[in-house]
Each structure stands twice: as C-alpha cells, then as structure tokens.
Symmetry: C2
Subunit: 191 residues, 2 copies
DNA sequence: CAGATGTGAGAACGGGCGTTCTCCTCGGTG
DNA sequence: CACCGAGGAGAACGCCCGTTCTCACATCTG
C-alpha cells in the first residue's frame, strides 16, 4: 500500500523546505523534491497542483515555524525589556544553525518578487507579522512611541539577518542586540 | 559597419543591469539582453564569454555605481556627523527611485549564493566595502569604538534596504536615520 | 577584382525542467 | 476469482534557455 496522505504531504513539505531554503527556489526542480521526499511525481502533483503551489506552501510553513521559534524565545522571559532582547537571542541561535542561509522570504522575494505577485505578497505579510509582534513588545515595555521603537528594532533585525547570511558569521546578532540596548536606553522610560 | 566595441559593451551592460536588477538574474535570458541591447548574440558572446561572466560584470558595475552615489552624498557634507547622516539621505533618494528593487547583491545572493561561490564572494566584497566606508566615517566622528558604531549603522542600513524593497515604501530610510541619530547620541562624544 | 575577415539575423543543438502519460503492480470488493 | 481504482516508477512531451553554428552580406587588403 502507498504512504498515508498526511505523511506524504509532510515528507514533501520537509523536502521542499530543506531544498528550497538551501539552494533557492528556482534552482530546485520538482524531480529533486520527488527524490528527496520519496513521494512519486504523481502523488506530488495531486498534493500540490503546481510548483507555485508548493512554493506557497513552503513559505507558509516557514512563516509558521519562524513565528513559533520567535514566540518560544520571547515567552521564556517575563520582563518587558528582556522579552525584546529575546528577539535578538532568537536571531543568534538561528544564525548559528549550520544550514542558516538568511530569511526565506527575503531570498524568495529577491528571486521572484518582481515576477510573482504572490511571493511578494507573502513576503509582505510575513514582515508585517513581525512588525506587529515587535510593536506589541514595544508597547508592553511602555515605549513612548511603540511603532517607532518597533521599526528601529526591525531594521536592526533585518539588517542582522542579511548581514549574517552574507558574511557567514553570527556576530551581527550580537551587534544588533548591543544597538537594541542602546536604543532602549533612549526610547524607554527610566526604571 | 557594426557598432563600435566600446559602445556595444556599454549597451550590453546597460541592458543587463536594467533587466537583471528588475527581474532577477535567473529570470532573464540572454535573448532578452540581446533584444534590449540591440547587440547580436555573437558579439555578445565575444564580449562576455558566458552568462556567468555577464552576471559578474553586472555586479561589478553595480558596486561601482553604488559606491559613487554614496560618495557623492557623503562628500556633500563636511561635518562628521552630517557625513554619517548623509548615508541615510542617500538611502532615501535611492529608495525613491521608481525602479528600486532592493540591493542587487542581497538579491543575487539569495538567488545564487548557495550555488555560485563567485556571486557569494562578490556580495561579501561589496558589503565589506560598505563596512570599510562606514568605519572610516565613524572614526572621523571620533566614535569611541568606530567598528561598533559602523556595525550598528550597517544593520540599520541593510535593514532599511530590505524592508523598503519588500514594503515598497521609502519610510524605512527615515526610520533608519532616526535610529542613527539616537545611536550617535550615545556613541559619540558630546559636542 | 579576389579573397579573407568580421558581423547580423536567426536557426539549430543540447540539456534541463514542469507537467502529464503509460504501464504495471497490488490491495480491496462483490 | 474477476474486477477496479489507486499508486509507483519513470518515460514522454513541450517549452525554455545557454551556447554554437549557418549563411548571406558588407567591408577591408593586396
């Protein structure tokens, strides 16, 4: 008997995730995903009717995983400032993973953003979600202007992600944390 | 008679620059460059022996243009702090250009960094050049730790570039400038 | 003028890839 | 047992694309 539908889907998504993220979306053929997942092309196409659909599912999954990992780090702290700094701890542990290759959304956007409105849209949504989360953290820390602090922290985070991806070092997370501390000194009310 | 070699090369590079930047490197075929440049495939291939070579030339050219534009903005100011802030003015004017689509190096790296060591290398060099420039600006402003201030400013800049590219707004340049002002308040000696 | 050279336009070649199709096997059902 | 539908393996199809080749023409040299 063939593999259970749910596990087939999971295997395909796992393979797609690993390959798309590692090599970029366009460099990975459906055949590579078929081989890596062990799911036949026929099944693959009945689970995901096109490569575009699979790309979309891949990005969806990344978004969810990313949010979960972020929340996990943030929720380990209770002090509002530490919850903000936890974002940068999260970045550091992410950057240290040996398969780290930057933000899947930034990469996909660079590859396909101009050519696939759907990819551009998903990237925007992902970043909007991050902004939302940071704005809430900034508000919880009593920032005078939570949106402003959040935006500053976002710039540091995004900058750290791309700098770390290109340089291959996790140091940018440390630097971003440093800068965040300084910004919070100025933007948050004294204790 | 055929077109002069120098102008043919210039036309090819112009076309490649526009197309690669706009649509991404992999989405643009040699035929599109041929059509846009008006240079025959034969000539094109004797000017650039492969698409890879053309991509490399494209990145080289982007690097040079970018440095020139940056220097132009920075050199319009004399006060060390204003020279640093000029970086963010530059970003803002860049983001406002109607064809702005992020950093060519970040985009190419996302597309091909894992698959083409040469592209990864060129991206690293480009970013190293930017870091060098910012470190000098920070030192000239008497930062206690010029490398640290430079790294913080880089994070803001890179974050602004990707955020602006994805969101389609130039606002991140303003936000980055704001944050830079705050960081300089803390990192630079008082007047 | 003869002939060699270089060029433009575009066809041709070779390979890769997204997607579909063929054929065969196998488990379940009446 | 005979049949049916689903699924696996992989061939096949169409298309795109990087690169090379053909051919006709125009220009230069002697």
């Amino acid at each position: 008997m063939a593999i259970d539908t749910a596990t087939a889907q999971r295997q395909v998504l796992e393979a797609a995730d690993a390959l798309f993220y590692e090599r970029g979306v366009q460099s990975v053929g459906m055949d590579a995903i078929r081989t890596a997942s062990g799911v036949s092309l026929k099944r693959l196409y009945q689970l995901f009717p096109s490569k575009d659909a699979l790309i979309e599912a891949y990005l969806h999954q990344r978004d969810q995983q990313w949010k979960d990992m972020l929340a996990e780090h943030v929720d380990a702290a209770t002090d509002p400032r530490e919850r903000i700094l936890a974002v940068f701890e999260f970045l550091h542990t992410w950057f240290t993973q040996k398969d780290f290759r930057g933000c899947a959304f930034i990469n996909s956007f660079g590859e396909l953003g101009a050519v696939s409105p759907r990819v551009a849209e998903l990237a925007q949504q992902h970043k909007a979600g991050f902004r939302q989360a940071l704005t809430e953290l900034a508000a919880a820390a009593n920032a005078a202007d939570p949106q402003q602090l959040a935006d500053h922290l976002i710039l540091l985070s995004e900058g750290a992600i791309t700098t770390s991806a290109i340089s291959g070092s996790a140091q940018p997370a440390r630097r971003a944390r440093e800068a965040a501390v300084l910004l919070m000194q100025v933007s948050l009310p004294a204790d």
